[in-house]
Symmetry: C2
């Protein structure tokens, strides 16, 4: 186990009717003027918008609103939000939506307190000490942004999707009522599950030894998410199954599963290039890339991948043929994604073969004339490796 | 799953040499004048005392010290600490030790900000909004107090041991360097493991359904603690195994394993009566009582106890004879405690049979002329039930 720091101070308020507590929780957090940030019409259709507005009014909390967040949240809207917060003297941001809305809110929170353009913070990984406080009401379980200190923003002009993390952007509180997941379209449910699983895979696959507790916590969370994701795809109004998937997605990305481990994150890095150019759904991109990545790297750590196949995918077989166990594990993962209705090939996402080399070079920084920054922890991937994985997945 | 709130804001700083960061972390937490609270000579012998003092001095942090905390921390020393903090205008408490030192520090932290005698807070479960901030350097993994909002204090005069919990007493940060566990005596290692396991059992055994994620997280943490506790009993300088046990103990009690579940806590309630009168080690008392409690209550929820026997204790057998699976699971738990060198009977702890009825009545409140407060969540235990369990364990 390697030395680590674990810090996840977000208060999670979970269950039926919890959205009605938002006003009281904001008061407790000393919010005076709130930016109510959201995506599109779905929260108005579901009645959530009205319930939140009523709760804010009941607690005498003044707010301005900014809707219109799209998947792969745009820098242009972030800049608009920053200007609005400054003009209206907003001191607290409430994100009502999924990971894109929350990430957009986090970027606004950073930008309001940053003297300069917020993209600099993302591009140069500038450490920020201060950001406006953010809280969330989660409507799409997937990104885990509701309890993480991470965010991802897309710069449309530059076709770049970059992540940024800092303790200052961990939400103060996050409300999760699984009833609001009942109306999610099936492709969004599936993308969400793939994203959660990837958050665990990125932490799980490691060469770090003596990390048995987090190994087993990762495996438990993966098994429970996979089992219950199939249940909610079949019946999106299954509250109990949504509880497992919803809180599973939070545990997947609040940091606890990765403590003491050298982490990987190659698949996220490779996927961000797809989303930056093609605006594909993050989870769908991950579902395509992850099995290809596994096939490309498993020889680096045969015991780790055997453990995955046995403990997560339930493969039984002869340990004297470890590669056959691993291949069966990967095959079962592909089969799981297929049952969820997720794509299996880059071509299904509309990714053109002639862009693969450019994306591989962007993912590793060489496209920008920088020194190459290989991706991954389990195996360091040069741009040629990334290209090979894209080709395996094409 | 039932509605829940999860809030565990303590920053965990884990690994080799982390004790040297204490001064910097206190500075970051705006500490000016610190109470350095500890137990006996062990931290002086190990050199930890000097390292902490040097780190505080290097960060220009002024401190006063109060040693002398004993297991089952005493109210009298808590009162002394409160007076000292007021006199010296202390604004931050640093607990260096195990659960007893941390719990003593939490009680002092509450008492300094409370207008009245601190025992009132414990006896009447008064909600407190304010307490001095507490941080810890953990030297005995067991109580989980380093990341919990709970504390337990013993009133020697009244022979009462009472718990108190509030978000305000969650430590700001906790430092854990497993190297400082190497010198623990074997009985303390064993007691600590039993305490951690009990923190999980109290959350795990429930009639709440649809809590699959926390079921599996509990089972994983139990398996890893048990396996590695046997390794550190054999070789107390096994750093890797201590990492699993040490962080396992934190996970066991930071709240994550109990979310959405009706919890039990009967064994803790029954054990507190042993410690209050006989000053036995908490973990040893739990090791004696837990298997007896299991035998007494398992018929309330046969599937839950089958799951425990199979998933935690590794029992294989015919599911058509569930009780034989359960009994084998309990037998294996007893065998584990035996291997750890823990007692199996109340008599080994010096508990006299003629005190059992009094303890059963104290545990449920009837000894104080109060309306009976039954113990437990899985099965409500009246004083007669508690007495029956004490007798099973005698």
């Amino acid at each position: 186990m390697v030395n680590f720091t674990f810090y996840a101070p977000t208060e999670i308020v979970f269950g039926r009717d919890t959205q009605k507590k938002v006003g009281v929780l904001l008061l407790k957090s000393h919010a005076k003027k709130v930016l109510f940030h959201y995506g599109g019409a779905s929260i108005k259709k579901s009645g959530l918008y009205d319930q939140i507005a009523a709760s804010l009014k009941a607690s005498d909390i003044d707010f301005v609103e900014l809707g219109g967040v799209k998947p792969n949240p745009r820098l242009s809207l972030v800049r608009e939000g920053i200007a609005l917060c400054r003009k209206e003297k907003v001191d607290f941001i409430l994100a009502v939506g999924g990971g894109s809305v929350i990430d957009s809110a986090k970027a606004i929170a950073v930008g309001v307190c940053y003297d300069g353009d917020v993209w600099e913070v993302y591009e140069q990984h500038k450490p920020v000490e201060k950001a406006l406080p953010v809280a969330t009401v989660l409507t799409i379980p997937a990104a885990g942004s509701e309890m993480s200190g991470d965010s991802v923003v897309t710069n449309e002009e530059k076709q770049m999707k970059l992540g940024y993390g800092a303790p200052a952007i961990r939400p103060v509180f996050s409300i999760m009522n699984p009833e609001f997941f009942f109306t999610l379209p099936k492709n969004q449910i599936a993308n969400g599950a793939a994203d959660m699983m990837s958050h665990i895979f990125e932490r799980y696959f490691t060469n770090t030894t003596s990390v048995e507790l987090t190994d087993q916590l990762c495996e438990a969370t993966l098994r429970v998410i996979m089992k219950n994701a199939l249940l909610v795809i079949q019946d999106p109004s299954n509250y109990d199954a949504w509880c497992e998937v919803g809180f599973g997605g939070t545990v997947a990305h609040n940091g606890i599963l990765g403590v003491g481990r050298v982490q990987d994150w190659a698949c996220h890095g490779m996927e961000h290039e797809l989303s930056a150019i093609y605006d594909v759904a993050h989870g769908a991109g991950l579902a395509v890339l992850t099995p290809a990545w596994m096939e490309y790297v498993y020889k680096e750590n045969i015991p780790m991948f055997v453990q995955f196949a046995v403990n997560v995918m339930g493969v039984k077989g002869s340990y004297r043929e470890p590669e056959s166990i691993i291949k069966e594990g990967i095959a079962r993962l592909r089969e799981f994604f297929r049952k969820m209705g997720l794509p299996a090939r880059l071509a299904e996402l509309g990714i053109e073969e002639d862009k693969l080399e450019l994306m591989a070079k962007k993912a590793t920084g060489v496209a920008y004339g920088e020194t190459e920054s290989p991706l991954g922890g389990l195996k360091k991937l040069q741009w040629q490796d990334v290209l090979a994985i894209y080709k395996l997945a094409k």
